[in-house]
């Protein structure tokens, strides 16, 4: 809310300057993919030979099994090769853009193009959103480059509670930071095209004002120092269209959240360094904690609708991968800033919340099938799209793998026929004297080795670097954490597989995903929610296990590690979502991360203020009180004023401000907000003149004649006397 702030915006080219050949990327990719193919082919040969030995020939079942094995084993091998690259390459001799070595002091002092930091939000906790924003703003101020940045909260919130509190939180933040004119708030009346549409509408209105845009999520935090570095990198490298950071997870309280946080932090550096090793300037965009050059983004990255309707067609859900592919297609470089420390986000705190997020991502990623073979897409961008798709397809494939194996054993038992083993075909070429059982164990061992190798490498990294180990609480805590993480991941993996498989079939049946706010913060899954989410899995797991033991006890024992945890999914899901067990692990320094043991100033400030209850809303809102937003907007003169002012100029009314809404307003005053549903409250809040009238009404009505709800609300001010 201010006059335009002058910025050195400079030219806004939509096409990149000519490329300077840096070379080496094809060799790196050949190295990683070559090793992946080699490992996959070796595993495939062993598996194929085993199937040959078991059946005496290749039949339909063995071909299907081998195909699934190759896909799953190949994905595993590719992940491991990425981690191995990251382990060996790390920083030294690494990519061209490297914050540790790529910038000099002069780069940080040169004039920057105007940069906007945007926070697209949708019904998330307003206090947390604005406290995070506050922390980032203050961190930027400390760099001395704060004047180069503006902030925009782009709200798509539909819940009047969130919407009203966001408005006042914004105002209060501007007051406290004296940032009027630097922090802006804009709410859309229609949530067209969800997050991508939110950003796109913002750019259509104000995009020309800025040269760069930093996209944050509602749970994103970044250090000012790294924001400045990112902008300096954009200035220094005019071919770069987008820089993506690798945000660290923070603030987890539950066991589930802390396991994810620990694993991402310990293994993430290695994986992202490895990713950067082979993708180089053809990186990906993960939707937030990234800086974007706006001119080419606006020119090339507007998203077309896909042919057909949702779930496979229609609006593109996972917009980020596609935007990256389009930006790369236009010739701009996209880099992953793997070595940036000051970038954080929060993850889901429970298995159920993870599943909800995965469902959205699954649909979004499967939509990308459209673009896999689209013209002009860079091969590495195609690979990103492919990995996203196949990553989610691996769950139904694993399910099919288990099903076929069970059917094979069932068939053998039911028919009473025994296998007619053949000689190993590999044995003719290689000096192998393994029995079929031993060969099966070798494949199993190789799979386990691939699964555990990244963890072993991460541990080695810490053993070689004591400073890093100390940041995770020391070697004993680190080893304890890794064991816990391994056990927990093994327990939830089959549950996640069943979720993904179910979502995949729902998608085939045409069930599309609804857009919901992410649950952040460990409030815990209730038994009722867990029952609703896992009852089908539990029943399936129990039936499968019983059937397996009845068919052949050995099969039952093999399937026990898969379906045992599934049978226990409900208590596991509830337990792992609760803050209590997570807190006890934290007290024991298990699953500790550097951010937890030595929180950076930005996170410390957020925790401190929220912990003390001194926040942007604490002056006028009672935390956690029911209907607090709608109550304050009616009673509080300032909350009312900011709401009415932000709704627009005089005479402008929201949609649906008619006599029906006026009647709802009447009910609100007479009966209190508890008598109305969310839609009714939304309609009232959307009518500024009605909200003003109701404000006057509750204050002008003699106190004794007010409904108890409003008496109580006004009492709070009287008590302040």
């Amino acid at each position: 809310m201010n006059e335009a702030i002058p910025h050195p915006t400079g030219p806004h080219p939509v096409l990149p300057p000519p490329a300077v050949r840096t070379g080496g990327w094809r060799f790196r990719r050949a190295l990683v993919f070559g090793a992946t193919v080699l490992i996959t082919a070796s595993g495939g040969l062993f598996m194929g030979d085993l199937l040959w030995r078991l059946y005496g020939s290749f039949n339909g079942a063995s071909v299907v099994l081998l195909g699934i094995f190759l896909v799953l084993f190949g994905l595993l091998a590719f992940g491991v090769m990425t981690a191995v690259s990251g382990f060996f390459i790390g920083g030294a001799g690494g990519p061209r853009i490297n914050l540790a070595t790529g910038l000099v002091a002069a780069d940080l002092e040169r004039p920057f193009g105007a940069t906007v930091v945007v926070y697209p939000v949708f019904n998330e906790n307003p206090v947390e959103i604005f406290e995070r924003l506050r922390s980032v703003y203050r961190s930027l101020e400390r760099t001395g480059r704060g004047d180069d940045y503006e902030f925009f909260v782009l709200s798509d919130s539909t819940d009047p509670e969130n919407w009203i509190q966001e408005e006042f939180a914004w105002l209060q933040l501007c007051r406290e930071l004296k940032a009027t004119g630097r922090i802006h708030y804009r709410r859309r009346l229609e949530n067209t095209d969800k997050k991508a549409g939110n950003i796109s509408e913002f750019l259509e209105a104000w995009g020309g004002r800025y040269q760069y845009m930093v996209v944050m999520d509602a749970d994103s935090v970044m250090s000012g120092e790294d924001l400045v570095r990112m902008t300096a990198l954009m200035e220094k490298h005019p071919r770069v269209g987008l820089l993506q950071t690798a945000p660290r997870l923070a603030n987890a309280d539950s066991v589930h959240g802390r396991v994810q946080q620990f694993a991402f932090r310990l293994l993430g550096d290695m994986f992202t360094a490895g990713l950067n090793f082979w993708q180089g300037p053809s990186g990906n965009y993960w939707g937030h904690n990234a800086i974007i050059r706006l001119a080419p983004f606006a020119e090339f990255c507007a998203l077309p609708d896909l042919p057909g309707k949702e779930p496979f067609g229609g609006k593109i859900l996972s917009h980020d991968f596609v935007e990256a592919a389009l930006m790369r297609k236009a010739g701009w470089e996209i880099w992953l800033l793997w070595d940036l420390e000051g970038s954080w986000e929060e993850g889901p705190q429970s298995l159920v919340d993870s599943a909800k997020r995965d469902r959205r991502w699954l649909q979004g990623n499967l939509q990308h099938t459209w673009l896999l073979f689209a013209g002009g897409i860079h091969p590495v961008s195609r690979l990103h799209l492919f990995l996203g798709i196949v990553g989610y397809l691996s769950s139904p494939l694993w399910f099919l793998f288990l099903l076929i194996n069970t059917l094979i054993v069932f068939n053998q038992v039911f028919t009473g026929l025994t296998l007619v083993p053949a000689e190993s075909a590999l044995g003719s070429y290689l000096p192998l004297t393994l029995s079929a059982n031993q060969q099966g164990l070798v494949i199993f061992g190789a799979t386990l080795l691939l699964l555990f190798l990244p963890k072993i490498l991460a541990l080695l990294q810490c053993l070689f670097d004591w400073r890093r180990a100390r940041r995770f609480g020391g070697i004993p805590a680190l080893v304890g954490g890794l064991v816990l993480e391994t056990v927990y991941s093994a327990l939830v993996a089959p549950v996640v597989m069943l979720f993904h498989t179910k979502f995949f079939f729902w998608l085939l049946m045409g069930r599309k995903v609804e857009w919901g706010a992410q649950q952040r913060g460990a409030v815990g899954t209730t038994w009722r929610e867990a029952w609703a989410a896992h009852r089908g899995q539990t029943a399936l797991g129990a039936l499968w296990l019983v059937a397996a033991f009845l068919i052949e006890p050995v099969l039952g024992f093999w399937l026990l590690p898969v379906f045992g945890p599934v049978v226990l999914a409900i208590p596991l899901s509830v337990w792992s979502s609760r803050p209590g067990p997570g807190t006890r692990l934290r007290q024991a320094h298990l699953l500790a991360t550097p951010e937890e043991l030595e929180p950076p100033a930005e996170l410390r400030e957020i925790h401190g203020r929220i912990g003390r209850g001194v926040t942007v809303l604490s002056e006028r809102f009672e935390p956690g009180a029911a209907f607090e937003g709608i109550t304050r907007v009616i009673v509080d003169p300032y909350v009312n004023a900011v709401h009415v002012t932000l709704m627009g100029k005089s005479g402008k009314q929201g949609a649906g401000c008619d006599d029906g809404t006026a009647l709802l307003g009447e009910r609100l005053v007479v009966e209190g907000p508890g008598a109305l549903d969310l839609e009714a409250l939304r309609r009232i809040a959307g009518c500024p003149d009605l909200v003003m009238d109701l404000h006057r009404r509750v204050w002008l009505t003699p106190f004794a004649e007010l409904a108890p709800w409003w008496q109580h609300a006004i009492e709070r001010y009287r008590a302040g006397v």
Partner: protein
């Protein structure tokens, strides 16, 4: 200032006391913490209210007092800043300016005080009121067509066509799954 009579009888005194408490609550909600200043304004408001009630006996003291309070705030803003507030919506914006200019805190001595205000306070109020959204600076975002795979496009057209008969579509999927399962069983059957 002469002390108001407030009707004289006990019931009336009680009503005026209620008006006092309500106005005081409202001033508190505006962030006016200083009791002395608050008390001065309440008396000012009640004086105006009493004059009106004396003219129209049917009016309720509490209601009239609150009307006068809201009017007083809007008038004071207009006179102090020279900004005309012709309607309620703009009055709300003026009220917001009080908070943005930190009238309840930094300049509370001047809150609802007799104009003219010191330049610094008036300027703070005016600049808070005049704040606008950033100037629009548009950037077109027009989607470009993507050359999609023609086979997939055709497959989708066919798939979408099935949406017209959702029961048939589901039956088709279930049949396909059943067929797949049967084929697998036949493969295994020896």
């Amino acid at each position: 200032m002469n002390p108001p009579s407030f009707g004289g009888d006990p019931a009336s005194i009680e009503e005026w006391n209620e008006a006092f408490v309500t106005v005081e609550g409202y001033l508190c909600s505006l962030g006016m913490k200083n009791r002395l200043l608050r008390s001065r304004i309440i008396h000012q408001v009640l004086d105006r209210a009493e004059e009106r009630v004396a003219r129209e006996a049917a009016l309720r003291p509490s209601t009239v007092a609150m009307e006068e309070t809201i009017r007083l705030v809007a008038e004071w803003f207009s006179v102090s800043t020279g900004v005309h507030l012709p309607d309620n919506r703009l009055a709300a914006r003026g009220r917001l300016a009080l908070l943005l200019a930190d009238l309840p805190g930094r300049y509370q001595n001047y809150f609802l005080s007799r104009p003219p205000l010191p330049d610094e306070v008036a300027d703070a109020l005016r600049s808070s009121y005049l704040n606008e959204s950033p100037v629009l600076d548009r950037r077109a975002m027009t989607p470009r067509p993507i050359a999609l795979n023609p086979i997939m496009r055709q497959a989708t057209v066919w798939w979408e066509g099935l949406n017209r008969t959702p029961i048939f579509k589901r039956l088709l999927i279930l049949s396909a799954l059943g067929l797949l399962g049967t084929l697998l069983l036949l493969f295994f059957w020896r």
